[in-house]
Symmetry: C2
Subunit: 235 residues, 2 copies
Amino acid sequence: MKKLLIASTSTVHGSEYLVYILPTLADFFKEAGTILFIPYARPSGKTYDEYTAIAREAFATIDKKVIGIHEYKNPKEAIAQAEAIFTGGGNTFELVHQLYKNEILSALTTAVESGTPYMGTSAGSNICGVTMMNTNDMPIVYPPSFTTLGFIPFNINAHYLDPNPDSTHMGETRETRIKEYHVFNETPVLGLREGSWLEVNGASIVLRGNHTARLFQQNKDAVELATNTEISEYF
Amino acid sequence: MKKLLIASTSTVHGSEYLVYILPTLADFFKEAGTILFIPYARPSGKTYDEYTAIAREAFATIDKKVIGIHEYKNPKEAIAQAEAIFTGGGNTFELVHQLYKNEILSALTTAVESGTPYMGTSAGSNICGVTMMNTNDMPIVYPPSFTTLGFIPFNINAHYLDPNPDSTHMGETRETRIKEYHVFNETPVLGLREGSWLEVNGASIVLRGNHTARLFQQNKDAVELATNTEISEYF
């Protein structure tokens, strides 16, 4: 049975890496001693080693080991044998580029479908959607496709931000961007605010955390979903 | 001789479409009676007709006619015969997708190299760079390439925004995103604030408007360039 945690962000304001969600992770990963970390998204251009060290330090506080996928000779086998998987945030274009380059999309699908717990934050959550077309990231690398893992039947907009009524900036709001997306695409989009996450168990998808989430569907008004909502009912 | 106006935005806060730059446009387009408008970027999903009507209304105030490229049977011929060209803002991914789909990149290059005045705002400015890799837009459409027109030897980040020291949002700042870009790419990037534009005459590239612009080069500290700076000296 699929078992996923899909988080908007790794870090909330005023707190350290993953700290806001560690109690949840201790439970989610309770049967795993070691977590396979996928550092491909390279936030701020960090090396795989640097990024893995950060994840390792956070997970040590809940007595989990972390090994980076780049420490294995064969990334597909690393995924097949993993007790649990965590994909960190960073740049979604580079992450997806590396998923294709290392040919691990089907290995990830097989692992997740067979019950390996998967957690993503930010870019690592975007790839759980049908496509990466609602990332906020800059297209610094050209991936061979925008199609991602489709673990859920909609796309994620991580770090969702409400329009700022005081802004004098003329760039598009997040809502405007997602509405433009729906001129060209049907797949629904969930705007997940920082501090929110989705808990997926098989067909069940529940919103967790302290915030509402904003659901965008083609040709419909956007709706706010309360925390603890069973989201699968909307699809 | 190349003759370009590359503007960060069409509209500044508290003003109407193009109004802040109309005196400059009256001079820039002084030898053109009719301007060919490229509405492919479709801001807010506007139709080509709706978007062209907006451009038409603005240019009517300086006695210019506007015809949308979609009103011609053959877009390549429309470009070859144009007295002047204006590409409006919107979504850069969709704009670039349509440039490739309509096979007009080389027609645009030929026209611009032979002296047809070209003006871009926002997405229409991004495509003047070497690639579209520094757009802020959402990847709502998968274009066949991120390579763009290369009228200037660097990329544009339109609507450039300084980091907000009061923000509690954990998404990356613009500067962080551009630095991530330079982990993977060499091409310099110019962050062009709203209300700034570049005036290109042959090999000369001068910053205009009331703001400084921020130049990012690989393995160097970012620098602020004053308005009226001859930017070509930096490359």
